[in-house]
């Protein structure tokens, strides 16, 4: 099977890989780039744990053909820290108990970042809407919503 050369930006660095036709972005990131932060949950776009940003927009990497991101900029949780420091969202998630098993956390954080990057002071409803494609089976939605609001400006109900 012929391989397709592919270049894109991964968390601010240029990367080049060869992919099989039909390879999805999740597999390309995890198995070819070695970035294990996006997770496999369903492979059907149902759970959101594979969420990444493509040119700042939230995408489900399990349903994104790797070839389609050529020349574009990909952000994952692996690139969220600001140097040695946690991003305010990461800090807020930690402080607000917004992770239990941690498996949905990468996707939740990317969905939250996509929201705050375009809307720095969202309403509670807008936060709920922004993470509505992400499933947390430990049922920790309330702390997650509170964490995102906290990161946005300290408006926390709990």
């Amino acid at each position: 099977m012929s391989k397709i050369p592919l270049q894109f930006r991964h968390n601010g660095r240029d990367v080049a890989i060869f992919v099989d036709g039909g390879t999805n972005l999740l597999v390309a990131l995890r198995e070819l780039i070695g970035d294990m932060t996006p997770k496999f949950g369903c492979g059907q776009g149902g759970c959101g744990t594979c969420s990444v940003l493509v040119d700042g927009e939230l995408h489900l990497s399990c349903l994104t053909l790797a070839e389609t991101v050529a020349g574009r900029s990909i952000e994952t949780l692996d690139g969220m820290k600001q140097g040695p420091n946690l991003h305010p969202l990461q800090r807020a998630f930690a402080d607000n108990f917004a992770a239990q098993c941690g498996y949905c956390t990468p996707g939740m954080l990317m969905a939250a970042k996509a929201l705050l990057d375009r809307n720095p002071s969202p309403s509670r409803d807008e936060v709920i809407e922004a993470i509505s494609g992400n499933i947390c089976r430990c049922t920790g939605y309330e702390p997650i919503i509170n964490a995102i609001l906290a990161a946005a400006g300290g408006r926390v109900s709990a």
């Binding site: 198995e31 149902g46 946690l86 992770a99 941690g102 947390c136």
Partner: protein, 530 residues
């Protein structure tokens, strides 16, 4: 958020708490928010192969023939594993504690007993090639009548699901087809009760649906051992189960786990490790076996279904005088942990209430459904649902407030429970009172003043004559008290002294008297068979 009600039972403890009531950061939180927590599937190993299984399309069928010839020629295929390749191809999870008979193969050989049962495993260079190869395996089935309902499974002439248990029920103590509880004379009390209410409840299987699916990666180590990354919730249990199935000492394995992407009970069955390790043994390469989402949802073990019949006798003044329960726990095609769930179910009867006549039969039943497993309070959850629905209906029947009805019938310290153990440290009354307060639900004064520490014991501590109880029972053993137990209610209580006395020294070991835990263990699991 968290509220500690220190006013309740305040004299029973000091407030020298170092951690309770204070926020503490989880030790794994930093890993979670930075994405560096390492789940089993986050390991990329050189030359890793991929394992997929062929699953039964039938709920119940004899396997006439398995044709793998085309799959063997499929691109990328490294190895095909059949049941005959599994060193010990019959196991039951709780055999590690001598509870139950081996009844489940890793790969089906002569028969499939539920839709989705693994039959053949194929290892290939890539996941795609493994998928393509399993599609080429041809299994010739001779369909058998399937039984999918717990009560149908117990009817005479019902298809035998699992030949290890030909009556379709788990066998306790190598004799009994159910868990039985007999306390007083429920039938006589029902005959004289003012009202009798009989209801049927049932709960469907529930899938845990963890975001991370079940899986394992096994890799040969240089020292003859195997490193296994796994999603298991029960790591040491899984090590020993693999050792048994693969017939090697358990120190052959170096299991690495503990970071689980959601389990809730659905990752205790050692579903993927044995085949992943066997694959690594047979190919000499790292092998990954991970469930897809469809496999997880369709064939991953769920919380077992239950059907429950409750017949209660209640007096006009609200006292429940008899509770008779018949419950069926749907184990699916194999035992896994359902035998234990039924024990828990029986041990929970009649709920946190003092009822002088209790009769319980709980069956662990085999059907041609997906084997059930653990899930958050399994065995108790459905029974509690049934009992509490029933409590509301009974309250309505006698025209009582449902909260007050529960307080009236709640167990209290010193009461005799139906399993002939004294109720200690009870707190249902206080829970109901606080719930009513939070809900701004009015309670009358006498119910507001009720206490778990008042009005228990005495006549309520008596074990009633139990007619069906023909087998000789040992006389009631003395129940050991621990430093956490409340004093028996007959003893007058002195106000707490100030300062509180130091904690008593731990009791010295008494080898002649079996400890509380050991006694209970043997009464549940019976005599050791080896």
């Amino acid at each position: 958020m968290l509220e500690l009600r220190k006013d309740i039972f305040a004299d029973e403890r000091d407030d020298n708490l170092k951690e309770i009531g204070k926020g503490t950061q989880r030790q794994d939180m930093l890993g979670h928010v930075t994405g560096t927590s390492s789940y089993f599937n986050d390991h990329k190993l050189q030359g890793m192969l991929h394992l997929k299984v062929v699953r039964s399309t039938q709920a119940h069928a004899r396997i006439r023939r398995i044709d793998t010839s085309e799959a063997e020629r499929s691109a990328g295929v490294r190895r095909i594993i059949r049941g005959s390749d599994v060193p010990v191809n019959l196991n039951t999870l709780l055999s590690l504690i001598n509870f139950g008979k081996d009844d489940e193969p890793s790969l089906a050989v002569d028969k499939v007993r539920y839709k989705g049962e693994p039959i053949v495993a194929i290892i290939a260079d890539s996941e795609r090639e493994a998928f393509e190869a399993i599609a080429k395996v041809k299994v010739d089935y001779e369909p058998l009548p399937a039984v999918l309902d717990v009560e149908d499974a117990l009817k005479p002439g019902a298809p035998v699901v699992n030949e290890t248990y030909p009556k379709n029920t788990f066998t306790y103590h190598e004799t009994y087809d159910r868990q039985q509880l007999r306390f007083g004379d429920a039938d006589a009390a029902l005959a004289t009760a003012d009202h009798v209410l009989e209801q049927r409840y049932q709960m469907s299987p529930i899938e845990h649906a963890p975001t991370e699916t079940n899986g394992a990666i096994a890799a040969p180590d240089t020292n003859g051992r195997y490193v296994v990354y796994t999603s298991t919730q029960a790591l040491f249990f899984s090590v020993d189960t693999c050792a048994k199935i693969l017939d090697v000492p358990s120190n052959t394995f170096h299991f690495i786990g503990g970071t689980v992407g959601g389990g809730f009970g659905g990752k205790v069955d050692t579903l993927t490790e044995p085949l992943a390790i066997l694959g690594a043994m047979l190919t000499g390469k790292p092998v990954r076996y991970v469930f897809g989402r469809e496999e997880e949802m369709q064939y991953g073990p769920p919380r077992g279904a239950e059907r429950i019949y409750i017949k209660d006798g209640v007096m006009r003044d609200g006292r429940i005088v008899a509770r008779k329960i018949r419950a069926y726990f749907d184990s699916g095609a194999y035992t896994r942990l359902s035998s234990y769930a039924a024990v828990k179910c029986a041990a929970h009867l009649p709920g946190p209430y003092t009822i002088p006549n209790v009769y319980g039969d709980v069956y662990c039943v085999f059907t041609n459904r997906t084997p059930a497993t653990a899930m958050r309070g399994f065995g108790v959850t459905a029974m509690d649902f049934a009992i509490e629905c029933q409590m509301d209906k009974l309250a309505n029947l006698v025209n009582m407030d449902p909260m007050e009805f529960r307080i009236l019938n709640a167990y209290r310290d010193g009461d005799m429970k139906a399993h002939r153990r004294e109720a200690k440290n009870t707190a249902l009354i206080e829970c109901v009172q606080v719930a009513a307060e939070k809900a701004k639900w009015p309670l009358r004064a006498e119910f507001k003043q009720a206490s778990s520490r008042k009005d228990g014991g005495g006549a309520r501590a008596v074990i009633p004559p139990t007619p069906a109880d023909s087998r000789a029972r040992p006389t009631a053993t003395v129940q050991q008290r621990t430093s956490y137990d409340r004093l028996p209610p007959t003893v007058t209580r002195e106000p707490p002294r100030d300062p509180p006395p130091p904690a008593p020294p731990p009791p010295s070991p008494r080898p002649t008297a079996p400890s509380h835990g050991a006694t209970r263990f043997s009464s549940v699991f019976g005599t050791r068979r080896r």
